[in-house]
C-alpha cells in the first residue's frame, strides 16, 4: 500500500501486507490520538483493515501556538 504522510513533513511510504489502521500507526510510530487516517476520502477507525492496493493518507492534527 502507498501511505502519504501529509504533515508536518510530507513523505511517502510503501508497505506490503494487510494490516489494521492501529497497526499501521504503531509501525510508523504515530500516535493515534493525534493522527487521522484517510482512504478514498473516508476517515478510518483503528479497527479498519488496509490492503496492498490501498492509497492511504495520514494527517497530523497537532498545531502549536
Amino acid at each position: 500500500m502507498n501511505v502519504l504522510i501529509r504533515n508536518p513533513i510530507r513523505r511517502e511510504v510503501q508497505l506490503q501486507g494487510k494490516r489494521r489502521v492501529k497497526r499501521l500507526l504503531e509501525e510508523l510510530d504515530l500516535n493515534p490520538e493525534s493522527h487521522i487516517v484517510i482512504r478514498d476520502g473516508a476517515l478510518l477507525t483503528a479497527d479498519e483493515f488496509l490492503h496492498d492496493e490501498d492509497r492511504v493518507e495520514i494527517i497530523s492534527a497537532i498545531s502549536g501556538g
Binding site: N7, N31, E48
Partner: protein, 311 residues
C-alpha cells in the same frame, strides 16, 4: 466499528467517551458539545455580537462554521502577521471561507497598521517570534472588538491547547496565569471584552476530523515559528498519556476547573488602570503592547492605512 447512534459504519472513534460515530452523527456530536459549553459557561446569547479570531487553521474555521450553523451571525477577525507564505496562505484560506458563507471578515494587517511584521518584531526586540505574536493577538483581538462594538471574542482553543497550557503553568507554578485560565473570561474592566473558548472540551484530532468531514479547507501546515514550541512538546506528552489512558487530558483540565480553580479565586486580583498611551487596561503606566510598539517604531517607518472589512 459501528456508530453509537445508528449502527452504520463509524468514521470517528472517541476512546475517551467509549464511543464512535458515523459522519452525520459525529458532526452532531461536535455541535452539541459546543452548544453545551456555550450554555454551561454563559458564553454568549443570540443577542450578542460575536467576533471569532480566525487564523485559517482547523480550530478557528471549525468554530466559525459551528457558530454560523447554529445561527449566530458571527464575524471573523484575521490578523495578517507577515510570516511569509504561511501568512499569505492563511489569509487566502480565511477569505475563501468567509466568501463561501457570505460572512463578515475583518482583516488587520500588522505591517501597514503598525509598521512591523511578527518576524521584524522578533528581530528588533531580540525576542522569540511567538512572544511578540501572542502579545499582538491578545491586545488586538480585544482592541478591535471593543472599537467595533462586539460583545465577545471567541477563539478556537481546544482541549489539547488548554491541557498543554495548564501543564506549562503547573510545571512552572505560574499562579497568575492559572487563575486566569478559563473557558470564559468576563469583561472585568470597561476596556476589556469578554473572551470565550467554546471548543475547550474537544481535542485537536476531533476538530481536524470535523473539518475533514465537513469539507472545510484549512491551513494544514504548521506556523514555521512553532517548530520546537513548548506547547507542542506538552501536547505530545499529554497525547502519549492519553493513548495509554483515554480521558486523561479531559480529566486533567476539567479537574483543574472543578477542583483547583475555585481555590485560586481567593488570590488577590491585580488592579487595572488605563495605559497612558492607548487607554487599554494595564497594570503599569503603559501597557506591554505600547512599550513593544514604541521600541519597534524606533526601528521602523511610520504606519499608514486602516483595516479592511469584507462581507
Amino acid at each position: 466499528m459501528r456508530c453509537l447512534k445508528c449502527r452504520q459504519k463509524a468514521a470517528v472513534e472517541l476512546r475517551r467517551h467509549n464511543s464512535a460515530f458515523c459522519s452525520p452523527h459525529y458532526l452532531d456530536f461536535v455541535a452539541t458539545q459546543m452548544a453545551r459549553n456555550v450554555k454551561r459557561h454563559r458564553m454568549f446569547g443570540p443577542q450578542d455580537r460575536v467576533l471569532v479570531a480566525v487564523s485559517g487553521g482547523k480550530d478557528s474555521l471549525a468554530l466559525w462554521d459551528l457558530l454560523l450553523e447554529a445561527g449566530y451571525p458571527a464575524s471573523g477577525l484575521h490578523l495578517r502577521l507577515g510570516i511569509g507564505d504561511y501568512s499569505l496562505r492563511s489569509a487566502q484560506t480565511t477569505r475563501a471561507f468567509a466568501d463561501d458563507r457570505g460572512a463578515q471578515l475583518i482583516e488587520f494587517d500588522l505591517e501597514s497598521e503598525m509598521g512591523f511584521t511578527v518576524p521584524k518584531l522578533s528581530n528588533i526586540l531580540k525576542r522569540p517570534p511567538c512572544s511578540g505574536c501572542g502579545l499582538n493577538k491578545r491586545y488586538l483581538f480585544n482592541k478591535i472588538a471593543l472599537d467595533r462594538g462586539f460583545d465577545v471574542v471567541a477563539t478556537g482553543h481546544n482541549l489539547d491547547d488548554e491541557a498543554a497550557t495548564l501543564m506549562g503553568n503547573v510545571l512552572h507554578w505560574q499562579t497568575d496565569p492559572l487563575r486566569r485560565q478559563s473557558p470564559a473570561l468576563a469583561a472585568s474592566h470597561p476596556g476589556l471584552v469578554k473572551k470565550v473558548k467554546p471548543l475547550y472540551t474537544l481535542t485537536e484530532r476531533e476538530m481536524a476530523s470535523y473539518c475533514l468531514l465537513k469539507g472545510i479547507d484549512y491551513v494544514m501546515e504548521e506556523c514555521p515559528n512553532a517548530t520546537g514550541a513548548r506547547s507542542i512538546l506538552y501536547k505530545d506528552a499529554l497525547n502519549r498519556i492519553e493513548a495509554q489512558s483515554p480521558g486523561s487530558k479531559q480529566q486533567f483540565f476539567q479537574g483543574f476547573l472543578d477542583r483547583l480553580k475555585p481555590l485560586l479565586q481567593g488570590e488577590a486580583a491585580v488592579e487595572l488602570r488605563e495605559c497612558a498611551l492607548c487607554g487599554q487596561p494595564t497594570t503599569g503606566e503603559t501597557c506591554a503592547f505600547c512599550r513593544m510598539r514604541e521600541r519597534a517604531e524606533k526601528h521602523s517607518p511610520k504606519p499608514g492605512t486602516t483595516s479592511k472589512v469584507r462581507g
